[in-house]
Amino acid sequence: MSTNLVLLAVLMFAATYPSRALGLLTPGLDRLPRVALEYLQLVGPAVLAALGAVNVMVVVGDDDLTSFHVGIEWVAVLLCLVIVARRRNLFLGLVAAVAVVVAARALGFAALPG
């Protein structure tokens, strides 16, 4: 069984770990000015919204070119957002989002990704 790519995994770890550890292991980061702490407080909603939006609205083609995507996934994510906002229940939101996508694809209203 091949193990050649284990070394690549180690190198990828070496490229990833510093960005994960820098903030947590840097002494004194918690003594930043108040405005910096307020900024960090807003990172969560901004990055999570960014991840969600890019995953739904941007498609990367086989040629590595990106394009704007409109599809049933928008409806699914919006439905999840509404359910989480109103019911405070992420799992219910995810189930509803998946159900919408599966139904739309099964009925031919939406294409499969890729």
Partner: protein
């Protein structure tokens, strides 16, 4: 509510959210194992990626790059770029986790994924302080274990499973991220940060690359959010509560008739600075 009751309530919410995330990770880990198998990875190589790298997007990208014959230095460089957003996560969690011993923080860093960050920051903000066990629940139970078990299942059993896209797995991750972001929106600053972050990210992704767009959104969103005056930002109202209608609706709309919400969830302390 006493401190212990608040902790138990927040952990129950954490576990409920973590269950949804675990399902998401199970699905994606399985698809990753399937992709790695198709690209010629052995089970040991696929599992090495999931345990040592433990970064879903970078792992998916690596499968494509290995399959297309890209040189390793290029793969490592792209991995660093793709995972640069974790710097924002670790900086944001740092004030909360300052009392955790260094060795354990070093371990936490390896497990700091999108999902672990989202679950733990939500949990800490509900509590108004850090809860180390809560971090490990989010990082290990909902992410590390499901991701690795599903990777193993995908790489070993993948050929027997029908097209996973038909199961809607691809929509779970963005829906989970947007849902968790909504849970963090308790005031105008967070709302503006989220909207600007999403807009900048999409624009950056289309103009440059998804990785650059996400990092740009994560940097620009909070910067614009801070422009909201502190007096306005101090008014907090979790999204979805009656109080939020009052805060976010346009003047002259139904919000003017909304009554105060006596049972609105507690406002997290320090809409500005965290108070771990």
């Amino acid at each position: 509510m006493t401190g212990d009751e608040a902790l138990r309530a927040s952990r129950r919410r954490l576990l409920a959210d973590a269950f949804g995330i675990a399902v998401s990770n199970g699905g994606f880990g399985f698809v990753y194992g399937l992709s790695a198998r198709d690209a010629g990875f052995s089970p040991i190589e696929a599992m090495a990626m999931s345990t040592i790298v433990f970064a879903g997007a970078a792992q998916f990208a690596a499968v494509g790059y290995v399959a297309s014959g890209l040189a390793w230095p290029g793969i490592v460089l792209l991995t660093a770029l793709l995972n640069a957003r974790h710097l924002l996560y670790s900086a944001a969690l740092s004030p909360w986790l300052r009392d955790v011993p260094l060795a354990r923080r070093a371990g936490m860093a390896h497990l700091l994924t999108d999902e672990a960050f989202a679950l733990s920051i939500s949990h800490f903000r509900r509590l108004g302080r850090a809860d180390e066990r809560g971090f490990w629940i989010g990082a290990i139970a909902s992410t590390f274990i499901p991701w690795n078990l599903a990777t193993l299942a995908g790489v070993l059993l993948g050929a027997q499973i029908p097209d996973p896209a038909r199961l809607g797995i691809d929509v779970i991750f963005p829906a989970a991220m947007v849902g968790l972001a909504a849970g963090l929106i308790t005031g105008r600053r967070e709302l503006v940060a989220a909207i600007v972050g999403a807009g900048v990210a999409v624009g950056g992704a289309l103009a440059l690359s998804p990785a650059i767009g996400i990092v740009a959104g994560g940097i620009a969103g909070p910067a614009v959010g801070l422009l909201i005056p502190a007096s306005v930002a101090g008014e907090t109202a979790p999204l979805g509560t009656p109080a939020s209608v009052e805060h976010y609706a346009m003047p002259g709309t139904h919000a003017d008739r909304a009554s105060p919400a006596p049972d609105s969830p507690a406002v997290p302390p320090g809409t500005g600075a965290p108070e771990p």
